[in-house]
């Protein structure tokens, strides 16, 4: 079994799994690397180019990890969205008491 799961089924995708936690850890790192890498690259600093390249790679990797899961979550949720929207409207208009 591969360490990173990429073939998701609707029920599994709704759970919070290690793929989410990998994304949660990598995502702030991407921002830090892109931010610092960009400013130093504009100053033609070699370290800046390296940091920027690592930031771009990690951004790609993060998407590679989480995208299959997000697609399945989205597709499954869209099926129920209409029903949930109707409920939301009834709630906003006091036609359904919460609970």
């Amino acid at each position: 079994m591969k360490y990173i799961k990429r073939d998701w089924k609707p029920g599994d995708a709704d759970e919070w799994t290690k793929e989410d936690w990998i994304t949660i850890i990598i995502s702030p790192l991407c921002y830090i690397l892109l931010m610092i890498g960009t400013v130093l690259s504009f100053l033609l600093n070699v370290l800046g180019f390296i940091l920027l390249a690592v930031g771009i790679f990690l951004t790609w990797f993060m998407h590679w990890v989480i995208d299959p899961k997000l697609k399945v979550i989205s597709n499954e949720y869209e099926k129920k969205q209409h029903e949930y929207l109707e409920k939301l409207e009834r709630n906003a208009r006091w036609e359904e008491i919460h609970g």
């Binding site: 609707p10 919070w16 702030p28 991407c30 921002y31 130093l40 919460h98």
Partner: protein
């Protein structure tokens, strides 16, 4: 003062015609329903709300603020802008949860997550506060434009404030969020392009990157190129303790909703995205653009520092990036630069006009005043609310003096005492409406006490902002935790409905087990089997 030539005015007029015209062109879509007027029918691909996230958070005062902190602290000053990184985790956690709730606003989300009178009180409070806050933000962004026009043309402050906000209001009134999002896309492209052009032009005017680095070294200011140039662990104006606090606030804050005042703007973009996936990417990529834009600015500000190293007046050096554009760009491009400034200005104004109007229309008018209102009526109420916000912003704008201190104080005040409750409401099933409400009330009192009143009477010393944060968080917890445990949890039936729909992260074990007992999550597993077949 700057003298514009014909070509400069040509760019400005052309831009205004295109941007207002493009916004108004979506009039027919905007008037179809409340959902269209405020969320573009929830049908947007990720890159449209992403461009809006970027454009909205590129306001007239943003380059002033970024220039201020980078001129003062060097590249390390970028960490002041890193608060935007709450989206790093939020894009994949709270964004996903919020999008699944389908709430129009954060105020509405409170009645989905919580229950009964407490939830309604929260909805009323958050919506009223957001109507006020958006008017306030419109005022402070608007007056920044007044200052830019005063600097450029010698106009009275009110002219820049009133003129450009009013032009923007034309398409917001006509097409609502459709107008906002379409104009934002176009404005975002123009603004990003011009930010790169002006910054590169400024860097070259200073002699190029290598010369800037050499000059900084010669001046004994090479530390300005070090992103980790702090003034000590706890000492100085920019200590490591501040940096760690900021990282906690920004990064961990992504688990919550409302840990940054920007959340309320982003929440609208999240709900306007056509799917959970589109919502996540819109927030992540919009913020990535914001952070890289700040970096480009920072490089240009170092160029400005090399050329003008001894400015002590904050209000003077804060205008540094604008000066690079207006003093070094050739004729013709200056007008294009001013058009880009108008773009970054009105993209922010448009977003806050529509957002404030949405809180008024959806949460106050529809929910509390007239629940039977028709879709047509709601669109019109949205327009009237937009107009009221516009007029109110003129009043607030003319009241404000120092942009930076207001901005930092407002960010800090909103982040501190309710930061932890904003996370707990997402990740902990037992946290209830009364706990959250008590945190808000306590924060309003405690923050003023800790920041202003007690130091004024020498009861406590005037603390650095990062120490204020921890103290406010601790004092707030001493109130909201007992209140939470002394009041009943939300009804299990209500929590189960929320859990099944939103699937929140964190400590929701008891709710999940009850949902499984009722077969509400087994249903998903049955679907799985069907899929497997």
């Amino acid at each position: 003062m700057i003298e514009f030539q014909f070509l400069d005015w040509f760019w400005v007029v052309l831009f205004l015609l295109v941007t207002v015209g493009l916004g108004v062109a979506f009039y027919r879509l905007g008037k179809r329903s409340e959902s269209d007027f405020f969320l573009a029918g929830r049908e947007l691909p990720w890159w449209l709300p992403a461009s809006s996230v970027y454009a909205t958070h590129t306001a007239t005062d943003t380059p002033i603020w970024v220039t201020g902190v980078v001129y003062k602290y060097g590249v390390a000053g970028l960490w002041y802008t890193f608060f935007a990184a709450w989206c790093a985790i939020s894009a994949f956690v709270s964004t996903r949860i919020f999008r699944r709730s389908l709430a129009y606003t954060q105020a509405e989300w409170n009645t989905i997550r919580f229950h009964g009178v407490g939830a309604e009180m929260l909805r009323g409070w958050i919506s009223g506060w957001q109507v006020f806050m958006n008017m306030f933000i419109l005022g402070w962004v608007g007056i920044a434009m007044g200052k830019v026009c005063e600097y450029l043309f010698g106009w009275d402050l009110w002219i820049g404030l009133v003129l450009f906000s009013s032009l923007c209001a034309i398409y917001v009134l006509a097409a609502g969020y459709w107008g906002v999002i379409m104009a934002d896309f176009q404005q975002g492209i123009i603004a990003f392009l011009m930010i790169i052009i002006v910054s590169v032009w400024g860097i070259m005017a200073a002699g190029g990157p290598t010369v800037i680095a050499d000059k900084l070294t010669t001046m004994g200011e090479a530390w300005r190129m070090n992103p980790f140039a702090f003034t000590g662990w706890f000492s100085g104006e920019f200590p490591v303790a501040w940096f760690i606090t900021m990282m906690v606030i920004a990064v961990i804050g992504g688990f919550g909703m409302g840990t940054s005042i920007d959340w309320y703007v982003e929440a609208q973009r999240i709900q306007s995205a056509k799917s959970v996936r589109d919502a996540s990417y819109s927030i992540w990529w919009g913020t990535a653009l914001v952070l890289t834009r700040n970096s480009i600015w920072a490089a240009a500000v170092l160029a400005f520092y090399v050329m003008f190293p001894n400015i002590t007046s904050q209000s003077t050096y804060e205008m540094g990036w604008f000066r690079l554009g207006f003093e070094y760009l050739p004729v013709g491009l200056i007008g294009f630069f001013f058009a880009a400034i108008i773009a970054i200005h009105i993209s922010t104004i448009a977003s806050h006009l529509n957002l404030g109007a949405m809180y008024f229309t959806r949460d106050l008018y529809l929910h509390y005043f007239k629940p039977k209102a028709s879709e047509k009526e709601l669109v019109w109420v949205g327009r009237v609310a937009t107009l009221i916000l516009l007029l109110g912003s003129f009043f607030y704008g003319l009241m404000m003096e120092d942009i930076t201190s207001w901005l930092i104080f407002a960010l800090w005040l909103m982040a501190a005492g309710v930061w932890l409750p904003n996370i707990l409401q997402v990740v902990w099933w037992r946290f209830n409406a009364w706990g959250y409400l008590s945190a808000w009330i306590a924060n309003l009192g405690i923050s003023w006490l800790v920041v202003w009143i007690l130091p004024h009477f020498n009861i406590i010393p005037s603390l650095p902002d990062y120490q204020q944060f921890w103290l406010l968080m601790l004092l707030g917890a001493l109130i909201f935790l007992p209140v939470t445990f002394l009041t009943k949890p939300e009804p299990m039936e209500h929590l189960i409905k929320y859990y099944v729909q939103a699937r929140p992260i964190g400590w929701w074990g008891p709710v999940k087990r009850e949902a499984e007992k009722l077969g509400l999550l087994v249903h998903v597993e049955l679907n799985n089997k069907e899929v497997k077949k």
